[in-house]
Amino acid sequence: MIRVQLPQHLRTLAKVQGEVQLEVSPPVTQRSVLDALEARYPMLKGTIRDHVTQQRRAFMRFFACQEDLSLESPDSPLPESVVNGKEPFLVIGAIAGG
C-alpha cells in the first residue's frame, strides 16, 4: 500500500483527511502513483501536474525519505521504503510568494 500525503488545500479539494493509501501496481513511480491518485480523486487532475503534458506544476514538489524527488524522471522507481509503505510519498506546495 502506497501512502501519499497531500497539502492541506488538496486534501480539502479531494475531501480527505490525513494520508491517502493507494494500491499501485509495479513499477511504483511518480507517474504510477499520481495516476492512481487521480483515478480515485478526479478532482485532483490538473492540480498537481498539467492535464496534457503531465508535467509537474511549477510550485508543486515531491519529497520522500528526506529527499527531493521533484526533478527525478516521473518513470524512475520510487524508494523501496515508499513502495513497502514504510515512508509516505509527499506532495508539497512549494514555499513561494513571500
Binding site: 480523486y41 478532482m43 487532475k45 490538473g46
Partner: protein, 392 residues
Amino acid sequence: MSKVRVLVGTRKGAFILTSDGKRENWEIAGPHFAGWEMYHLKGSPVDPNRIYASQSSGWSGQVIQRSSDGGKTWETPGGGVQTGPGGFPMGESNKFVYDSSPDTGKALTTHQWYDGTQHPWEFKRVWHLEPSLTDPDTVYAGVEDAALFRSTNGGQTWEELSGLRGHGTGPKWQPGAGGMCLHTIILDPANSGRIYIAISAAGAFRTDDGGKTWKPINRGLRSQFIPDPNAEVGHCVHHVAMNPKRPNVLFMQKHWDVMRSDDAGESWHEVSGNLPTDFGFVVDIHAHEPETVYVVPIKSDSEHYVHEGKLRVYRSRTGGNEWEPLTKGLPQSNCYVNVLRDAMAIDSLDKCGVYFGTTGGQVYASADAGDSWNPIVRDLPAVLSVEVQTLP
C-alpha cells in the same frame, strides 16, 4: 418578501451575503474555499440555486466548483453525482485545453508578448463565469490567456469556442498588466446567437452565430498607449455592461475613457464628461433606468486607487457625460482602495440595490440606487468580484 444574495470572490476565499428585500441586515457565510483565489462566482438566471465558482491558486491551478443549493454546499462538477468503482466521485471540472485542431489550431498558437515577440497561448485561470440565460447546465468561461470556453454539462467538461481566437487578429492581442484575460461575457437576451466579450488588451468582440464567428467591435475607441491609437484591436477594455431591457446599448470602462455604443458595439463614443478621472475598472447600469450608469473613477493606471483619497461612485442619469458623485456613507478621506472590474453588481428590486467590493476588503451596499451606502462587511480579503441574485 424578496431576498438578495451577494456572491463575493476574494483573494482568499468566497463569501455569501444574504438579506431580505430591505437590505439592512445581512448574514455573512464563508469563507468558502478558504485560502484560494476566487476570481468569480455567478448564479444561473434559470435556477438561482445553481451557482458556479472559479477557484484557483498559483500552486494548484484552476478548479471549477458548482453549488446546487444556493452556495450552502459545493462540488467539483461530477463529484457526488456520478460515482465510479468503489463509490468514488467521477469527473474533472478543471480541464481547459485550447483547441489545437489542424483546421484552427496552427494559426491560433501565438499572441503578442510584452516585448513584442510572439508567445504561445498558455492557460492560467478562469476570470469570469457566465451561466446561460436558458439552461442551468450551460455556462461560459472567460479565461487567461484570453479565450472563451463553454460547458453544456454543468461545468464538468469544457470546449473552446475557438472561432474567437481564429478570426485573425489573435497575434496582435497582448497582455495587460493583469494578464491577457477574457473578463467580460454578455449574453444578449433578445438574440440567442449574440454574445459580447471583452479582452484586456485586445478589445471588445461580438458573435451573432452563437460563437462560431466573431468580429472586433472597437470602432471609436482611442488608446494613446498603442502604436495606432485607433487600431482595430489592441485596446485595453476593462469592462462592458448592458441593460437586458435595451441590449443594443452598451457602456464600457476602457483603461482610460468611459464609452457608449448605441448600435451593439458597431461604433463607440466617449461619455466621460465631467468625471474627475476617466480611468477605472467597473461600469454597471441601473436595473430599471437604462440611462442611469455607475462607475468608480480610479486616479490613474499607475496609481490604482480612488481619486483624492475619496471613495466615490459616480452616477449618470443621462447615459453619460453628466456625472454626479455619490458619497453618502462612503469614506471621504484617507481611502486608497481600488474597485476591480467584476466587483460591482446591481439587483432588480425597486429601488434597485447597488453593490461593490474593494481591494481593502469592504463590500458596500446601497438600497436606494446609490443615494446612500452602508458597508455590509469591512474586513474581507481583497475583493475580486461581486455578483448579486434577486430571489423571490
